[in-house]
């Protein structure tokens, strides 16, 4: 019975392209020059250790008369004070150095994995005991311990050194892995695995461990560096078997034979350089390790070079004419506090730029609430950030104007502001409240102090007494007892914190407040309380609000006018009441037919088939076309412009106008809209 009311929108498949992940995605890790350098260097060293003795057949311990000779054809890297070949020693030494490094690191990593994962996942007593163990190992100074242990061992062979190094270097990794496991353990996918009856060891090794590969690899690589250095130090101090060649051992002999005094640089520089180069190579690989391992990072890189807060370089042709115009062009200009004109915002990614906001024009009148509705990917949040010019680097405003009308009637294009002027403008005339904002309060400062900060920064002339009076006034405005100005953010509920953010936004009496999903994270009751507060404040203080949300039913109740965004464009703009009574765009109709109603008779929910489009691969013509139940032959061909429909009243006032970007309302096809009989006004093309 219930299901009958929900019409047949069930299909999950969309017209999306078939682009599954490449099996060789990890190869993309090599794209980074740093990583590639590291890998090449490391491969060279490994080859040197493996194949070196095949090519350089000189015995590294063979003594000759050719003592302390500089590099020559016979001895490519010269000789030592006993005439031994430095190159042969270097190659032979690389085997011990690398072997010690990798084997000790492998042992240490296995130890830290076992202890870290067990402690993190099992918790309780096992966690406390294992953590205690690793903490003890952490506070023991490891170099003295190594020195003592190597001294105590009957023979200081490579194996002993390896064991000693791994025993002293696992604890740090274990701690990091334990912390990671603790946080992963609470993640939903682990919960899902537990709920499906997966066994504990499988959850640890198949679900949790693969998520830590990057950390394990990074820990391993840095332990390798550490182990090589420790081995070199021990050898240099003569604590290892000095008859066995290693880079540290070479340095030991060079030091003991006063190579520096003889100026025999060829003796001590090569081993030192090798140690440094191996360290560098491993560090370089470490930088890029995430790209090899994390499937998410294998996809296209986002270019991050871009100017932020700089005035827009490219000006539109109409700009010059407009800058000193005080609004003769629009009859309702005096009323409009902010005009967004042809705003375009692009994300500069590896390939083609992605247009998140495409040629959006909107007008905000003084004292009104303009609601912007849209789903994820519609560009509504990008628009919010662009209006306040808080957008982050990969996003770039590539066109348009943001015309702000001062109370005296003069206009400023916000896109031409920079630096200080922009900062001043942002809080004085326009402020912003974001969804996450309530978590943006500094946890260490009392809320009164945080409001006071804004006053101090923008009203330096204001005395302490006046400021504290203003803080009290602001808190009262948003419905918080002024006594609570001494409270810390954690002492307040989410709703109260969001009220504080609104108080901060109101601090300097702005004309415009941009709100991006300010109540989404809150419960319905709290949400309603805050919305009511916003509306009453707006009526009292006469600021205008741009309110952005995905919740259309809330928006209709709250807004004076509504603009619906889809794939970066405004597809419909209308007074809220008219919009609700008669949505024009098929997308708006679908949205309104998607949400269940609480009062009145139940109606059939038809919903919208498919899913929001990928902005990087928009369909041709109308972006909504693949999901549109009323698409016809022109839709894939023509990108529908935003058509102005003459309001029934005949006035061209912003307040009452309706605009829609749909070919159903265009020219010869207007008849198709099928709404002619219901009194849809005649359309007028702009």
């Amino acid at each position: 019975m219930t299901t009958n009311l929900l019409a047949d929108v069930e299909s999950g498949t969309t017209g999306q392209e078939d682009r599954p992940a490449s099996r060789f995605g990890w190869l993309r890790g090599f794209r980074s020059a740093r990583t590639l350098t590291g890998v090449v260097l490391m491969v060279l060293f490994v080859l040197m250790a493996l194949l070196g003795p095949v090519f350089v057949r000189t015995d590294p311990s063979a003594v000759s008369d050719d003592v302390l000779s500089p590099p020559s054809g016979a001895h490519l890297l010269g000789t030592t004070h006993t005439g031994q070949d430095v190159l042969a020693q270097l190659i032979d030494g690389s085997r011990i150095s690398l072997l010690t490094g990798f084997v000790a690191a492998a042992l240490a990593t296995v130890l830290s994995l076992l202890i870290g994962l067990a402690a993190g996942y099992l918790g309780g007593l096992s966690d406390e005991l294992l953590s205690l163990l690793s903490n003890i190992f952490l506070v023991i100074p490891s170099l003295p311990l190594v020195v003592i242990l190597t001294g105590a061992l009957p023979e200081a062979g490579s194996l002993a050194i390896i064991i000693v190094i791994s025993l002293t270097s696992w604890a740090w990794g274990a701690r990091v892995l334990r912390a990671q496991t603790l946080s992963l353990r609470k993640r939903d996918f682990v919960e899902a695995a537990r709920a499906s009856g997966e066994s504990t060891w499988r959850i640890i090794f198949r679900e949790i461990l693969p998520n830590q590969t990057a950390i394990v690899a990074a820990t391993f690589l840095s332990t390798v560096i550490g182990a090589i250095l420790t081995q070199a130090s021990l050898a240099f101090l003569g604590l290892t078997d000095v008859t066995q060649w290693s880079w540290g051992g070479m340095l030991y002999w060079a030091q003991n034979s006063a190579a520096l005094n003889y100026g025999a640089w060829w003796w001590f520089v090569p081993p030192g350089l090798c140690i440094a180069l191996v360290g560098t190579a491993l560090s370089l690989i470490n930088f890029g390790i995430d790209e090899f391992i994390n499937p998410r990072l294998r996809s296209a890189h986002i270019a991050t070079k871009n100017a932020r807060n700089k005035p827009m370089a490219r000006r539109l042709p109409s700009d010059e004419a407009e800058s000193d115009d005080t609004g003769a062009s629009s009859p309702t200009h005096g009323d409009v506090v902010l005009e967004i004109r042809n705003l375009t915002v692009e994300y500069q990614t590896g390939g083609d730029p992605i247009r998140a906001v495409d040629d959006v024009s909107l007008q905000l009148r003084r004292g009104e609430v303009l609601g912007i509705a849209g789903e994820s990917g519609s560009g509504k949040s990008t628009l919010a950030y662009a209006i306040t010019r808080l957008h982050q680097p990969p996003a770039r405003i590539t066109g348009g104007q943001l015309l702000y009308t001062h109370p005296d009637g003069s206009r400023t294009d916000l896109l031409t502001l920079s630096g200080k002027a922009l900062t001043a403008f942002r809080w004085e005339e326009m402020s912003i409240v974001l969804q996450s904002a309530m978590n943006a309060l500094n946890p260490l400062l009392r809320i009164g102090v945080q409001i006071d900060d804004a006053l101090q920064a923008h009203r330096p002339a204001m005395g302490a007494g006046a400021r504290s009076a203003r803080v009290r006034e602001l808190l009262e405005l948003v419905g918080i007892d002024p006594q609570r100005s001494a409270a810390y953010p954690h002492e307040l509920s989410g709703g109260m914190r969001q009220r504080v953010m609104i108080a901060i936004a109101l601090t300097l009496d702005p004309d415009v407040i941009v709100m991006d999903e300010p109540t989404t994270a809150l419960d319905v009751v709290t949400q309603r309380q805050i919305l009511q507060r916003i509306v009453s404040l707006k009526d009292r203080l006469h600021f205008a609000v741009i309110f952005i949300t995905h919740d259309l039913s809330m928006l209709i109740e709250l807004s004076d006018r509504i603009a619906v965004m889809y794939a970066g464009r405004v597809v419909e703009e209308a007074p809220a009441k008219h919009f609700y009574a008669r949505p024009l765009h098929p997308y708006s109709q679908g949205l309104l037919a998607s949400f269940p109603t609480l009062s009145g008779a139940k109606r059939v929910l038809t919903g919208i088939a498919g899913a929001p489009p990928d902005l990087g691969a928009l369909p041709s013509g109308c972006s909504f076309r693949p999901r549109c139940p009323r698409a016809f032959d022109r839709c894939p061909v023509v990108e529908p412009p935003l058509l102005l429909l003459a309001p029934t009243g005949g006035s061209e006032d912003v307040a009452g106008r309706r605009q829609v970007a749909c070919l159903l309302y265009d020219g010869a096809d207007a008849g198709r809209s099928g709404t002619g009989s219901t009194g849809i006004p005649e359309k007028v093309q702009v």
């Binding site: 999950g12 992940a21 996918f189 998520n211 391992i293 996809s299 789903e375 269940p596 919208i608």
Partner: protein, 389 residues
């Protein structure tokens, strides 16, 4: 009152039944801090019937997700019992858990977090199939994965199995969670806010899919949500949860159209609703849900309740029947006068204390007792606030 709703015979045993379900969490206050108990779920009775959608409506912190986790055996109840097909459930050890979860599957809220980011979707689905049917050959496993993907309208299957979670949209991922639940052929699906993180235009499709599966495969579906309007459309039976307790239950339509608990009325008046008459006044509400480590005495809603009476402050209300297959945990319904007072007050009355007939004509004490004793026999004998059909 023998049954809630009329679609299912009252003699039918529920697939999943919970009685007196209670969960306390222990909070440790530092090294020497006192241990405190947080009563997240208190004495919840619930019946889930085959082929029927039951909703639990509540705000964050109401304990609704804990109920789902208790029913899924992810957490052990402090008190109370769970019966599956009439047999008491006690899950100890992994084998029993697997046998239980083959029948009762949980779908989590966040489709972005509920898949392991480092494994392909195919891996995660094949794993789920193998857990429940270890005897299948690799080829049969592959076939089964294709089947469940087709069930959730994700075709062709090869387009999804090789992908990583981040390569799919929220709607697709939530369908995959449903597909993962279906690998077990469950008779109960517990859906914890299955659509709250999805786009508006996607939600309907996922809800329709769940409803169709419940109907076609005769699955008992528990739909946990904060969105009371969606419960009206999607569920047949619903219960409202506040501060760890179920406070009102009945058919979803009854609850949303004729709420009989002041909290349900508050929820409804706060929910966005463009159809609401413009005349309705501002929301009358002070306060927030209580701290469950120290819940109010008496009725847990009394500090926020516009109808609060002396009794509410001291004695927790029992369940009162408030109509055909409709009950409410509110002292107002102890007397017909109280019920009438609630009914006569508009949903969002600025000050109900001075309105309503109860103030003018308080019921005599004797009449109250009569009413109570008349009401009692109509309650389900086995569970005072059971959701029954």
């Amino acid at each position: 009152m023998t049954a809630l709703g009329t679609t299912v015979d009252s003699a039918v045993t529920p697939v999943l039944r919970a009685r007196g379900l209670t969960k306390n969490f222990t909070l440790r206050g530092g090294l020497f801090g006192r241990r405190r108990t947080l009563n997240a779920v208190d004495d919840v009775d619930l019946d889930l019937f085959a082929g029927q959608v039951t909703a639990i409506i509540g705000e964050s912190g109401s304990g609704k997700s804990t109920v789902a986790r208790l029913l899924a055996q992810l957490q052990r109840p402090t008190a109370g019992s769970i019966e599956l097909d009439g047999a008491p459930v006690s899950v100890r050890g992994n084998k029993e858990l697997r046998r239980y979860v083959a029948r009762v599957q949980l779908i989590l809220q966040d489709p972005f977090a509920s898949f392991n980011p480092v494994h392909t979707m195919g891996y995660q689905l094949r794993r789920a199939v193998r857990i429940h049917s270890p005897e299948l050959t690799p080829h049969q496993v592959e076939e089964r994965v294709g089947q469940v993907l087709a069930e959730v309208n994700l075709t062709p299957a090869r387009q999804y199995v090789d992908r990583y979670p981040h390569e799919l949209s929220g709607g697709q991922r939530q369908r995959l969670s449903i597909a993962r639940a279906l690998t077990a052929s469950p008779s109960v699906i517990l859906a914890d806010e299955p659509v709250s993180m999805l786009d508006v235009s996607i939600r309907l499709g996922v809800l329709n899919l769940l409803a169709r599966l419940a109907a076609e495969r005769n699955i008992a579906l528990l739909y946990i949500t904060h969105d009371i309007a969606s419960a009206r459309y999607f569920a047949e039976v619903a219960a409202v949860m506040y501060a760890g307790e179920l406070v009102e239950g009945g058919s979803a339509e009854e609850i949303t159209q004729h709420p009989t608990h002041p909290y349900t009325r508050l929820l409804i008046s706060a929910a966005p609703d463009p159809d609401r008459p413009a005349a309705s006044g501002p929301l009358r509400d002070a306060g927030a849900p209580p701290n469950l480590a120290d819940p109010p005495t008496g009725c847990r809603f009394h500090p926020r309740c516009p109808f609060v009476m002396d009794k509410c402050r001291t004695t927790p209300p029992p369940v009162f029947p408030t109509g055909q297959a409709h009950w409410s945990r509110c002292w107002l319904h102890e007397t017909p006068a109280g019920t009438a007072r609630l009914a006569a007050t508009p949903l969002n009355d600025p000050d109900p204390a001075v309105a309503g007939p109860a103030v003018q004509a308080p019921a005599p004490t004797g009449a109250q007792h009569t009413q109570t004793s008349q009401a009692s026999p109509t309650l389900p004998s086995d569970g005072k606030k059971g959701l029954r059909s």
